[in-house]
């Protein structure tokens, strides 16, 4: 999540939280470091300077509120300014009728539209996806296949004329809840393509124009966003490809020049990898404070139930829970994502471990299914002959069964570590999280 930016920042925050004391000099040092992190994360230079200036002003000139140490105060200001920078309050899209998705070549428009369709279907709204990209070979087919995957209607005009397609679609699908238009990827500075987009926007009269910005996009983000905004009036940003190492600094520039907010984040190539953007949560995740709210919500969505999620957090779980988790986590998204949402855990588990675990989980499921109820509730009882029987029953080797037990114990330990009494540092993080209104 904003990966390097996140890692850099959480390192910085850890310094803030664990450092012995903070004087004005160290505030300056922190600001220098913060600027470097922002620049390396592709944040526009102007924007970075503005942010630093605000933070300096607040921390050094304003009075520290009673009850807060300077240290806590600096952290709070950094947090608040980042929230302000990363866009205001999140807004839902369920009121909108005509949505146009625009962006550079290969920025993830069509995939995002599939994810959007899923989002509307979840809100019991009937979307129709309209293909307007007749440049890139097989772009309409891509939309059709995605529509099929999510169960949404797709319209492809047979004459391959984007204007006629838009007009016909507006007439034909007026009874649908929401019309999503998939435009061709373009360089907004290309005169011909720019003109086409402008005219399309005039025909469609969209309620919402969403600009896709890949997380790894460099400094062109600002000028491109500016142009797209001039042409079609951008009202929201979708950050795509957040599953790489990229930092999405470009997206910040895009929101800053268009005044539009980030609305969604694409976190992977699967159509489930989509989140409604929430700056407060996002920043807290960024700062390594974790994102319990999203985790609990996701847990609900995947029928895990908040109690189970709480259990997961507290580290009280049996093999039975472990298996339910394996099943539920499949629905919650990649483990890595889940881990990044847990306070104090973000970025601390080796990525390798998570990925490998995910692959093994399938086999683990077979193993657990071959256990008796008693064994599932009393994992310690599984030894010798039980292992042999379980291995036979699940078609796995005994080594794998032992490995599962080890993994289970390891995971149990890990969960305990961040859930239970977790040392001074995490205790402080917990307090801070509370301060920002997160229930723990």
């Amino acid at each position: 999540m904003f990966d390097t930016l996140g890692k850099g920042l959480s390192g910085l925050i850890r310094k803030l939280v664990t450092g012995t004391s903070i004087d004005k000099k160290s505030v300056e040092e922190i600001l220098v470091e913060l600027k470097k992190i922002l620049l390396q994360s592709d944040v526009d230079t102007k924007l970075a300077d503005e942010l630093i200036l605000k933070i300096r002003k607040k921390t050094l000139e304003e009075k520290i509120p009673a009850g807060l140490t300077l240290r806590e105060y600096v952290l709070k200001v950094v947090y608040e300014e980042l929230v302000a920078l990363l866009g205001g309050k999140p807004s839902e899209l369920t009121e909108k009728k005509r949505i146009m998705v625009v962006g550079l070549f290969g920025s993830g428009k069509t995939t995002s539209i599939g994810k959007l369709a899923k989002y509307f279907l979840k809100h019991n709204m009937r979307p129709v996806l309209i293909a307007l990209d007749f440049y890139r070979p097989a772009a309409p087919e891509q939309l059709q296949q995605i529509g099929k995957q999510v169960g949404a209607q797709v319209y492809v005009h047979n004459k391959k004329d984007s204007f006629e397609a838009a007009e016909t679609a507006l007439k034909t699908f007026s009874k649908y809840d929401v019309l999503i238009f998939d435009t061709a990827g373009r360089n907004a500075l290309d005169k011909q393509l720019a003109e086409e987009l402008k005219k399309l926007a005039q025909v469609i009269k969209p309620d919402e124009v969403l600009l896709t910005i890949p997380a790894d996009l460099g400094k062109v983000a600002r000028v491109q966003a500016e142009e797209f905004h001039k042409l079609a009036g951008v009202t929201g940003v979708i950050i795509t490809k957040m599953d790489g190492t990229a930092k999405a600094g470009g997206a910040l520039a895009a929101t800053s020049v268009t005044g539009a907010k980030v609305k969604f984040i694409g976190t992977g190539e699967h159509l489930d990898n989509f989140e409604v953007y929430n700056p407060t949560r996002f920043v807290s995740r960024l700062l390594g404070l974790g994102d319990l709210q999203t985790l609990l919500e996701k847990a609900k969505e995947s029928e895990l139930g908040p109690e189970k999620a709480q259990k997961l957090i507290e580290g009280k779980f049996t093999l039975q829970d472990f298996m339910e988790q394996i099943e539920a986590m499949g629905k919650m998204g990649p483990l890595q994502q889940v881990a990044s949402m847990i306070p104090g855990l973000g970025g601390r588990i080796p990525e390798d471990l998570l990925q490998k675990q995910e692959e093994k989980m399938k086999r683990y499921k077979y193993i657990i299914q071959s256990m008796t109820k008693f064994e599932r509730q009393n994992p310690d009882s599984i030894e010798g002959s039980r292992i042999k029987r379980i291995a036979k029953g699940s078609g796995c080797s005994e080594t794998e069964v032992r490995e599962l037990l080890n993994q289970y114990n390891q995971m149990k330990k890990m969960m305990k570590m961040f859930g239970g009494k977790a040392g001074l540092e995490r205790g402080q993080l917990k307090n801070l999280a509370k301060q920002f209104g997160f229930k723990l």
């Binding site: 230079t45 790894d216 996009l217 460099g218």
Partner: protein, 335 residues
Amino acid sequence: MFGLFKKKLQKLVDNLSGKVEEKVEKPEEKIPEEIVAEKPQKTSLFKKIAEKVKKSVIEKTLTSEEVTEVLNDFENDLIEADVAVEVAEKIKLDLINALVGKTIKRGKLKETVDDSLRKSLLEILSVPKINLEEILAKKKPATLLFLGFNGAGKTTSLAKLAKFLMNGGHSCVFAAADTFRAASIEQLEEHAGRIGVQVIKHRYGADPAAVIYDAIEYAKAHGIDFVLADSAGRAHTNVNLMDQMKKIIRVDKPDLKILVIDSLTGNDAILQARMFNEVGVDAVIFTKVDVNEKGGAILSVTHELKKPILFIGLGQEYENVEQFNAENFVQNILS
């Protein structure tokens, strides 16, 4: 292209020349008030240089202090132009080494800076050339594997390269080894239909290594020169997909692994290149160069990988490709 880069460079040259030449020619003239107000931090430097210049009117030895200040600005400009921080640092250091302590004759400053920068950039861009004919001479069919992050432009680049090879009298076959993304196979087929190339495909979800294997067998049986294998876009952080790529390489033994990089990528480009290189990269294609005026990713990635640049993509049409020419690239930047 690179309009901004040029501007920045000119600014640097002007700054440095200003320090030597203006003061040399009119050492008695006072610095106008507005300039002082605009660049207060530069004033003392100006004065210092002016004093020194009085001593040696014809020649000037640059000190580390004077050079560093200007070059720090330049480094920031490079970073702003999407050049990765470590590469920007290297360019700065090269320039400092080339300039500090040098006795420069009046009027030669621009030349000296130009030369130094040209050398530094050419050094970064000095990578072995690649010859597809040679690869073909060694092994027929030659298998070219395209890999990269999602949306980098792999399929379009593949089609462009096929067109280029066919114009050169070669035969090609496509392997539709992106079996994941919706309509990726149809996309490849449409390109193939336009260019006149056969596509070897399986179903979606099929093993990409097997698709490429079949395409190689097909090429062997039909005496085709090149197998061009498309692959699914993948995040370099996704261990499973990177392992899949390793398997493809192990099974199909491609003769050239071509990394496709979106030239619009920011600081992340260098990390993407590094992580894909752990799997294996033999050559690079930069795409969407027509959109980017700054070209920072090209410098960063080439500095990191030191791998040949097969070509650069400049648009959506098949003809929109250029062989990468380092001399021209640098000339473009510096002229």
